[in-house]
Amino acid sequence: MKKINFLKPDNNNLSFFLILGTLFFILGITDFSLNNFLDKNITFFLPRYINFFTPLIFGVIGLHFIRIEFSGIKQLEILNKNINTNNFNAAFSLFIIFLLIFCIPPLLNWFIFDANISGNTKEACTGSGACWVYIKVWFNRFMYGMYPNAEQWRVNLSFTIVLAFVGIGFFMPAKYRKYLTFYYTIFLPIISFLLIYYLISGGSFGLVWVETGAWGGLSLTFIVSFFCLIFCFPIGMMLALGRRSDLPAIKYSSLSFIEFWRGVPLITVLFMSAVMFPMFLPDGTYMDKLIRVIIAITLFEAAYVAEVIRGGLQALPRGQYDAAKSLGMGYWKLHLLVILPQALKLVIPGIANTFLALVKDTPLILVVGLLELAGMLGIAKTNPEWLGFSMEGYVFAAMIFWIICYSMSRYSQNLEIKYKTDR
């Protein structure tokens, strides 16, 4: 055996250092696990303040020994390069490993191993984990709110049809591609509105009328988000252009509109739309609460979208305007053909951000008595039969919202890649 320098592990004593390092590392992990799960402290003889850090110290020493350059072992090199470049990195990696060991088993226990899912009553929940029975029993309500059970096929059918129409857009033959914008911004909203008006709301064609107050759950989340997203984008775009207009009347009306809506909390806007707005309507006219709420959120978010798009417009060099003008393009051609396609591409992340915020803002409509997913949770957790399961409910809602938002986020990233042309 060659000379061993413990401060500088090298290639010459590769196997020795590897074994020693692995042992120390395993010792660290074992120490931590024993402390955590079995309440056993193998280093009890040390002073308390050192004792607390022993797993970390063992681990760092272990990682130090296996940090060998040019070892010729591929896996080891990958490991060293990614989590073990220096002592700080090693400590940080260990910290994360400990955190995972600390969190994952209890979480898994709560979610799966100790959870109950069979049965239909509260009594079926005997384990110490989550009571998914609660979600199962209330699932219908979480999805459809107070919508009558017998009529729920109408909601399903409408959503399926809308989804089908969206899908058709994706597989549209190249010949009709140029109508795609028109299809998505004008045709689809109209179809969706008609579906909602005649199918979900009902009242004609022999369908029972279901008032909007009874709508709720995830389907309401979708309805509100869908319409707000579709309408707030073009309105925001117009506002952004208006704010940069040369005409003072347009410029200052856009400016004051944007600043007004940005300055008011959403919850106030919702209250106003529900309580104050009807007072300004002439006698005898009536506008449904849901429509008022959708208009309110749309205008509110449009102001944000406008500012995001304005950022994109300002990022474009002046030469683009000059070039388009010098080719004889007027205001609309210049913006629609040259400026907006580039500006919108730049602000995809910002728009996605605003849209995600919008989707997550929809639960606020519960303040005016519309109960979408999060609102239904509030009802369910105060039901005397099912007291004490709010945790499961909120976790469930969080997962649903996370899935929605994450897929939106992924989609926006795809768009970014798709429209990326090298500058």
Binding site: G328, L337, V338, P341, T421, R423
Partner: protein, 244 residues
């Protein structure tokens, strides 16, 4: 004497307090090639940007091809469609392919059929020798190629006048020649051209007249031969001695 295609009378322009153009009088005849030179900040670019009203003048009159430049937007768009412009920074549209860059304005401004516009564009790209790049995006091309594409894009509008605003200033030295060649070919084809440039070789080869500007005024305006052989003002002599 052929017709006067550009008539500038007593043109004045201010940027806030800064007097950029002072009493500019300039007549350009059809098919004439004019090179504008002068130190930076002398108002050369502003002068030619006034001709298609990318900048507004505040006093005097500019008549381009019989139409006076005024607040009337219809007139401005008409003139801009007849006056092509090439910029220092190319200003191609980065979101469109080279071919689409060239067909965009003919299709949407001149209402040309797509097929015709594409044929025309390929023809123009052929002229500047980048027809093989037509499906690429501007970001994938070299500076010289981009500038040649910008020339082709302007030519697709079939302009009567071409304005060049320092077309070679942003290019690497070895790319300057390819752009200048394209411009020389264009000049030989009989285009009316106003070129802001420091390329005196180009001026000697194609220009009918050279204008020297300083501090917003036209200091000297002479035929090319005269201008280089015996410049009249001291300022011009100094400039030429530094640049040649």
């Amino acid at each position: 004497m052929s017709e006067k295609i550009i008539q500038m009378k007593n043109v004045n322009k201010w940027f806030d307090d800064f007097h950029v153009l002072k009493d500019i009088d300039l007549n350009v005849e059809s098919k004439q090639k004019i090179v504008v030179c002068g130190p930076s900040g002398s108002g050369k670019s502003t002068l030619i940007r006034c001709i298609n009203r990318l900048e507004e003048h505040q006093k005097g009159s500019i008549i381009v091809d019989g139409t006076e430049l005024s607040e009337n937007t219809k007139n401005i768009e008409k003139i801009r469609a007849e006056v092509g412009m090439v910029f220092q920074q190319f200003n191609l549209f980065p979101h469109l392919s080279i071919l689409d860059n060239c067909t965009l304005a003919p299709i949407w401004v001149k209402k040309m059929a797509k097929k015709d516009a594409e044929n025309l564009a390929m023809q123009q790209l052929e002229q500047v020798q980048i027809a093989d790049q037509s499906q690429k995006f501007p970001g994938q091309l070299s500076g010289g190629q981009q500038q040649r594409c910008a020339i082709a894009r302007a030519l697709c509008m079939k302009p009567k006048i071409m304005l060049f605003d320092e077309p070679t200033s942003a290019l690497d030295p070895e790319m300057i020649k390819e752009v200048l060649d394209a411009m020389v070919n264009l000049a030989k084809a009989g285009m009316t051209m106003i070129v802001v440039t420091h390329e005196m070789g180009f001026a000697k080869e194609v220009a009918d007249e050279v204008i020297f500007m300083d501090e917003g005024m036209i200091i000297e305006k002479a035929s090319t031969k005269e201008f280089f052989a015996n410049p009249k003002s001291d300022r011009t002599k100094l400039f030429l001695s530094q640049i040649l």
